[in-house]
């Protein structure tokens, strides 16, 4: 074999090993189509003390997404669980790659009992729900709360918490945190300069002009994840036209993205693009870079959810005092008041349908949703939970207390949309790309809405994607 031959063979071998991403399907189709593989094997007897029928010595496997919240809070919940079931062995693990780690186990029929399906490696819920891979959590809602006397779990939750995790009326996903989406600013910066947060669109534009004149960029955003800017646009439209605007989008109704309200909102937001009120270079920043620029005082406003404060903990200067506020009202004709904002349950947890210890998984959720479990979570990670009133007696950081205040003011006017849960691709890929073009000034409001609508129509026409209807 001469050198050429060797080279040639190495080339051939390299070729087979070539596309590193190639055919990632791994262990593939699993147990030969055996539908009965896996499933619940640990069943205990139900009693007043044990309403979900947990088998007390059954092991429980918990997989946590190791992201902004870390995993310590979960270990603490697990300790609360074993306090009640001392004979139960808990197998805890934490990963950032939920999808890649767990996909083969779902196929095998041996998934863990509790999964925190979150982060960039989140498994698309549409796929999980349409494949009946998730256990119904309805039983949990009707079980009595662990430590709030006289109430069922359902009665202890904030409004909207059950809706978000429901697919065609079945409660399948427990979204544990309560997240508020709004516009953030530094109270210190505004106080120093004598600025007040604008309640109307005209005031907002006037203030932007003033901020720009002061040598600061009024806005910045995550150019690499421009969907962050879709939130204030849709929120503005919902406040202008009422909650049905969002419902039409969620239900993929024809021309939902081109409604009058969406047009008004897109036209309004186009002004910050046109007038140059966005920090130059923002289209090239990712979320961390843009949030950092904002924390350094290079921009006054940023759109984000209430995880912002803990995400920015390491770079926020002392005394920065970030506050959240609702989007400005378009005008007096708005259907919802200025205070209305988008609050929704987030950070999804699920029990796979084939979990061996399904009852244990449900009861683990009951532990998380106890007053003690919720308060412990808020204390550890500075984030709200879906358990109503669980912030009482917990000292909150500045930003989070502004979230609580904004949420109180919003009250029954709060709204939400869920298309991002139903159709992950629509928000993550299609609306995202449209926002990128719009907020970098490369497209017009009409182009922007057209692109979003095209994305929604594409999802609606795709028969392989299961459709859900929001009531």
């Amino acid at each position: 074999m001469n050198r050429r031959e060797i080279l040639r063979r190495t080339a051939a071998a390299g070729l087979l090993a070539a596309p590193a991403t190639g055919l990632l399907t791994g262990c593939a189709l699993g147990g030969g189509g055996d539908e009965e593989s896996g499933g619940e094997t640990y069943v205990g007897t139900k009693s007043e003390q044990n309403p979900l029928g947990v088998k007390e010595d059954a092991p429980l496997e918990v997989v946590i997404f190791n992201g902004g919240f870390g995993e310590e809070y979960a270990k603490s919940h697990e300790a609360m669980y074993t306090e009640r079931y001392p004979k139960a062995q808990i197998k805890h693990s934490a990963t950032q790659e939920i999808n890649k780690t767990l996909q083969p186990r779902f196929v095998d029929g041996t998934p863990p009992d509790v999964v925190n399906n979150s982060g960039a490696g989140q498994i698309d819920f549409n796929g999980l729900v349409s494949q009946n891979a998730l256990a119904d959590l309805g039983e949990l809602l009707d079980a009595p709360s662990l430590d709030i006397p006289g109430k069922t779990v359902r009665q202890t939750l904030l409004p909207g918490a059950v809706d978000v995790g429901s697919y065609d009326g079945r409660f399948l996903v427990l979204n544990y945190t309560y997240t508020v989406y709004g516009i953030w600013y530094s109270t210190k910066l505004f106080a120093d300069r004598g600025w007040a947060y604008p309640k109307t669109w005209d005031d907002h534009i006037a203030l932007c002009r003033e901020i720009k004149a002061a040598g600061i960029a009024p806005w910045t955003y995550a150019g690499k994840h421009p969907r962050y800017m879709s939130w204030p646009v849709i929120a503005t439209a919902v406040k202008f036209g009422g909650p049905d605007v969002a419902k039409a989008i969620d239900n993929l109704e024809p021309n939902a993205w081109k409604s009058e309200a969406m047009k008004a909102a897109a036209d309004a937001w186009y002004q910050i693009v046109k007038d140059g009120y966005i920090l130059s270079g923002s289209p090239g920043l990712d979320h961390v870079q843009s949030q950092t620029a904002w924390c350094q005082g290079k921009a006054a406003f940023i759109s984000c959810g209430s995880w912002l404060e803990s995400e920015q903990k390491n770079v926020t200067p002392p005394g920065f005092n970030m506050s959240v506020a609702p989007t400005p009202s378009l005008g007096s004709g708005d259907k919802l008041p200025f205070e209305a904002l988008r609050g929704t349950a987030g950070e999804p947890f699920m029990v796979p349908a084939k979990a061996k210890n399904r009852a244990g998984g449900l009861d683990y959720f009951r532990t998380m949703l106890s007053m003690k479990g919720a308060q412990d979570f808020t204390r550890r990670v500075s984030s709200l939970t879906v358990v109503a009133g669980s912030t009482q007696g917990v000292e909150l950081p500045f930003g989070l207390s502004s979230v609580v205040k904004a949420l109180d003011a919003s009250g029954a006017n709060g709204f939400n949309w869920v298309y991002n849960n139903y159709y992950r691709k629509l928000e993550r890929e299609l609306v995202d790309a449209a926002c990128g073009e719009f907020f970098s000034g490369r497209s017009t409001p009409a182009d922007f809405l057209e692109a979003c609508q095209k994305g929604a129509d594409q999802i609606a026409a795709d028969s392989s994607i299961k459709k859900y209807k929001r009531a």
Binding site: L23, L29, G33, I123, S440
Partner: protein
């Protein structure tokens, strides 16, 4: 030795072949049947749909956009990398001509050799992070330099006109070092007296490179070409880390499309496998074509 031959071959060859078969060939083979199904990846509920996935694929505009980008990479990545690699390797090995030393590299060539290899030591993810900061539109090294000399400072990764090219530049940057070493090693194997003869004839460096070095390195260039073509059809990790295919799909590649279809925004494993199968055949054909096109008679030294 005759008796010991087969046990030896078996001991050394069978375990790696088994591993290779199990972890490389077997998953590849499985992708073919999966590509014919509507499998959504998280249950054993599978329906055979024939060639439906391939029919969808033909009409998928996002995929064609990705194919176009891979095609551009396929042309530019090998050309740029090989040209730069050959240039640097020549300078390091035969570029210096001072004094009576004959054929040597430029001054400090051992230092350069080390420096060129640096990117090869870094993991791709680290390279991506590093360059994301270099391309930072406001605080990045690149724009600071451009502003310093009074040039306009683009947003690089945030602009569909520049994002793809910015990533291509990183791909070239990170692969050149390896080919400098590869070509350098091959150049060492060229007998010195050939160069000395060329020098006596008074050939310039350029003529030496064109008429002597490249023909004698042809085998190596050919291998480099195939490796780079394969890399160009992939490009997944860098793109995913640096732009995630954006802005507005302007830097999308087939590998990223496939990843997002299965693991990202959807769980369509059947369709993703169909994309994988197409990618497999594309890569295969490109490699075969490259081998054919570059075929030449081999030059023997002795």
């Amino acid at each position: 030795m005759k008796h010991g031959k087969y046990p030896l071959i078996i001991t050394f060859l069978v375990p790696p072949l088994l591993l290779y078969g199990l972890f490389v060939l077997w998953p590849y083979l499985q992708a073919f049947p999966i590509a014919g199904t509507d499998w959504l990846g998280y249950s054993s509920d599978i329906n055979f749909v024939g060639l439906d996935n391939f029919a969808t694929l033909v009409r998928d505009g996002y995929l064609w956009n990705a194919v176009k980008n891979n095609a551009i990479l396929l042309v530019l990545l090998p050309v740029l990398t090989i040209v730069l690699g050959l240039f640097f390797a020549t300078m390091l090995n035969t570029g210096g001509r001072r004094g009576r030393a004959g054929v040597v590299g430029v001054r400090g060539s051992s230092v350069y050799r080390l420096v060129y290899f640096f990117p090869q030591v870094l993991s791709v993810v680290i390279i991506a992070l590093l360059w994301k900061e270099v391309y930072h539109p406001n605080n990045g090294l690149l724009n600071a330099t451009l502003r310093g000399i009074g040039l306009p400072a683009p947003t690089w990764l945030g602009d569909p006109r520049t994002a793809f090219w910015a990533v291509l530049a990183v791909m070239v940057w990170s692969s050149v070092g390896f080919y400098v070493v590869l070509f350098g090693a091959a150049m060492q194997a060229i007998p010195r007296d050939i160069y000395e003869a060329v020098m006596l004839d008074g050939a310039s460096r350029w003529t030496t490179l064109r008429k002597v070095t490249i023909p004698l390195l042809w085998d190596t260039v050919q291998v480099a070409w195939i490796y780079l073509a394969i890399a160009a059809l992939d490009g997944f990790i860098l793109i995913q880390q640096m732009t995630d295919g954006g802005p507005n799909h302007s830097s999308d590649v087939i590998g990223l499309r496939m990843y997002n279809t299965a693991f990202g925004s959807e769980t369509k494993f059947g369709y993703a496998s169909a994309i994988g199968v197409v990618m497999f055949f594309l890569t295969l054909s490109v490699a075969v074509l490259a081998l054919r096109a570059a075929r030449r008679e081999r030059i023997e030294y002795s």
